[in-house]
């Protein structure tokens, strides 16, 4: 059981709003999106991966979104379009619009008198907002969020419960920050001096552009001297760590559990797989893809897909194979020696 869609549209209306070509009943009413496997009456699904061919043949969806190539994959009503997944997104948003923001400040919230909260913003229970902070029109700040002094949150943002933003950090318009996100904690800046670590004041900020989404429990550290910058349209999944003075280029998407060490600059339109690790002070070019689990210790200056994964196997096979890793250099040396000896032997043979 899912939350009911809040809207219903006839197929003809959907095509009118989202485009595409309708094959089937224009008056069929659609009230929710669903997977091919679980869709039923009133629900629309999509089909783009040939791997799910069987599912599209058996689906009980009222309608299916398909590409021209697969226009005949089902007899159900269908919408033919160029990119079924992108189209599906538009239909889902139509059927599941974000709930309207109900303006107001919960009586339990603690807001510094010098803070400016827009009249159309919604501030939840136990929210604290510091001196000279700003919250823009239409933004919703849920229960237990803490915005420190001079924080700026743009328009139409959503901060889910328990988001923390340290002083002076700036969040653009239409940003979504999920619960447990920490923006602007101190970077890991230490100087070793006389047998102990001394903390270097972290005086930069975090600047987050427009249309950025940040997943649950992700942390983005403030800059040591200059700012840490997340450009517009960046999408970050859960439990990502971004070190001080990083710059993440516009429209880059980063999957969960990725760690990026300090002062690394990542280009625009990159895609970084889950649990990847990127070392500090590196440059990653635009349009680089990094596979999940990959550890990057050097700059990557050319677009392409990059990988570093030890292949998985049964433990006993791994034991047998992995033991040779520690002797690869010796093994390569023995190979070279064999080549030389064999060449010598072949030489004699041909004499």
């Amino acid at each position: 059981m899912k939350s009911p869609g809040r809207q219903a549209f006839r197929l003809a209306e959907i095509v009118e709003r989202c485009g595409g070509e309708l094959l089937g009943d224009p008056d069929l009413v659609i009230n929710q999106v669903a997977t091919l496997e679980n869709a039923g009456a009133g629900q629309i699904s999509f089909f783009s991966n040939p791997r799910y061919r069987q599912q599209v043949e058996r689906t009980r969806a009222a309608a299916v979104i398909v590409s021209a190539e697969f226009a005949d994959a089902t007899d159900s009503s269908r919408i033919v379009c160029k990119d079924p997944y992108a189209y599906f997104q538009r239909v889902s948003l139509l059927l599941n619009p974000p709930a309207a923001v109900v303006p107001g400040i919960h009586p339990s919230a603690v807001i510094h008198p010098s803070a400016e909260v827009a009249a159309s913003a919604a501030i939840g229970a136990f929210v604290s907002i510091g001196a000279d902070a700003q919250v823009g029109e239409g933004s919703q700040i849920d229960a237990g969020c803490a915005l420190a002094d001079k924080v700026r949150v743009g328009r139409d943002c959503r901060l889910f419960a328990s988001v923390t933003v340290y002083h002076d950090c700036v969040i653009g318009d239409r940003a979504i920050l999920h619960s447990g996100v920490i923006i602007g904690a101190d970077g890991f800046g230490l100087a070793w001096d006389a047998g102990r670590w001394n903390k270097i004041p972290q005086i930069g900020r975090v600047l987050i552009g427009d249309d950025v989404e940040v997943g649950a429990n992700t942390t983005i550290d403030r800059g040591a001297l200059d700012d840490t910058v997340i450009e517009e349209g960046v999408k970050l999944d859960n439990q990502i760590q971004i070190g001080h003075n990083c710059r993440i280029g516009a429209h880059t998407a980063i999957a969960g559990c990725v760690g990026i060490a300090g002062s690394t600059h990542i280009g625009r339109y990159c895609r970084i797989g889950g649990k990847a690790m990127i070392g500090g002070h590196l440059e990653i070019a635009d349009k680089v893809e990094i596979s999940g689990g990959t550890a990057v210790a050097k700059s990557i200056l050319k677009p392409g897909t990059y990988t570093s994964l030890f292949p998985v196997s049964l433990h006993e096979d791994w034991l047998r194979n992995a033991s040779h890793i520690r002797h690869l250099d010796a093994l390569a040396g023995r190979l070279r020696e064999l080549e030389a000896r064999l060449a010598a032997l072949e030489g004699k043979k041909n004499d």
Copy 2:
């Protein structure tokens, strides 16, 4: 110094309640469990790993829980049983029962009038509970937790301070959620369209079964269309990330810092080591063990223990050996060539 045990039992009473055979003084009073190394008067320890043989010989524990095989490993009073570690758990629970829940709602809590909180539940300071939410009998919700609209929490649950549960998610009976846990944040669902990422509404829920424990700062995303499901008896350690639409089979245990990408199904009775990574859209069979740090990029359809770890070595040795990894294919090719040349030579020799 530890918290004092809240109870004391004679050895005879312990054996009466937990089983096993007592060798030694039945009237010895035991008030706490402890390690072999640090146990003293009134404390009971256990011995199951032969590696700690010396410790059992030197222990000052009042009593020791042992298996039949090691019944003579100590002269102290001892309880002989089949599985000393499981037995030790029962004794520890006897001596350290969970504190009784003190029913009541802290005056600072903000509870929507339509929410149903059982009379025997305990709701802490600064807790917020949304519309139509439910909290079952005997459940304790600590300070600063935020339960959104329509959340259901079962009976006898414990949510430690600062747990966040998004709307519509369901938590079974006797669940333990540690601080910083985020249940039901949006999955990482994006469609690329005309040069930018568009967010796909995440309309599924998270369903958590009975007797599940979730460690601190672990995140479990809500489903994109269908639900994310954590079956009964699953045990999750800290800082685990579980993507949307995953299913984790009953009684599977997952150690800290594991990341599981979206739509992956993990079987029952699996054991997954710390910092393992499991890619998206995979199937992991029942009773699979995955070693710590292992990255799984393909489905695993047979029980067994699976590993993928680059062996650690001194950095200079690593440098020397690892450089060959990038040329393994060439190295294998040279080996094949040598084999052919040698065979040719041997052929001539035998001519």
Copy 3:
């Protein structure tokens, strides 16, 4: 734009307080630190890495901190000292002192009558402090922190917003805990018994020494029986997980996203790179360095730098090379066989 420095000092005053030799104008007023690249009037920078030679030549910094070796690298006013980075830290702290703590308890805070909060401490909004807890002189506890019963926080600590400390845990003097930190959640202690996991009561504590800093969303579990111990001067970055009964030696620094499984003891003065993983029940000696991303599955008993990383490459190259990993043992066997055959052939040849 950064937060303005709160102080200004003449170069002569800086040298008077921090040492070093001044070459240039003693009356130049310095009000902030900055990078060589972005420094301007009134700002001081430092130069220690020859890689940034060009930047020091072009900098518009009012003054630069340099080592004797590079005393002539710029014509600007400069301070010559032994360790420019350590010196820079002292200057930065001079110019960016922590804000004074404003004593007082926010009226929304919920503090148990038996708790002791020092008169000079500052307690923020929505903070909850349990029975018999203590907060020392000059400590600042920000919004939404939850300290359970019997927690002890020392003098001059800073707990940023939304820190959670479980019952009985102890935090030394001058500790800094960033937002989202969870101290003392239950360790992952389970006993398998009759087809299900039984939870083992975690009765140890977490003890944190003086001058420890803990990064955002880091979790440190309480001990199962004995305590988990973080010794003085340890510096932990964000999203680190430390399992129950670990001991981290004094002045060890651990970068972000590191996972340390239970009962592992790490020595003093270690440096552990980001996303490293250290298995359970291991010993790591003093002064060990572990490279970022390295997985340690065995004890390390000698100082040195240790690494285990699969080298990154273009995905298609990786595919080609990685496939041989699963056959390394066979490949090594073929090499041995070739050596034997070649030796036999050489023997005959020489006959």
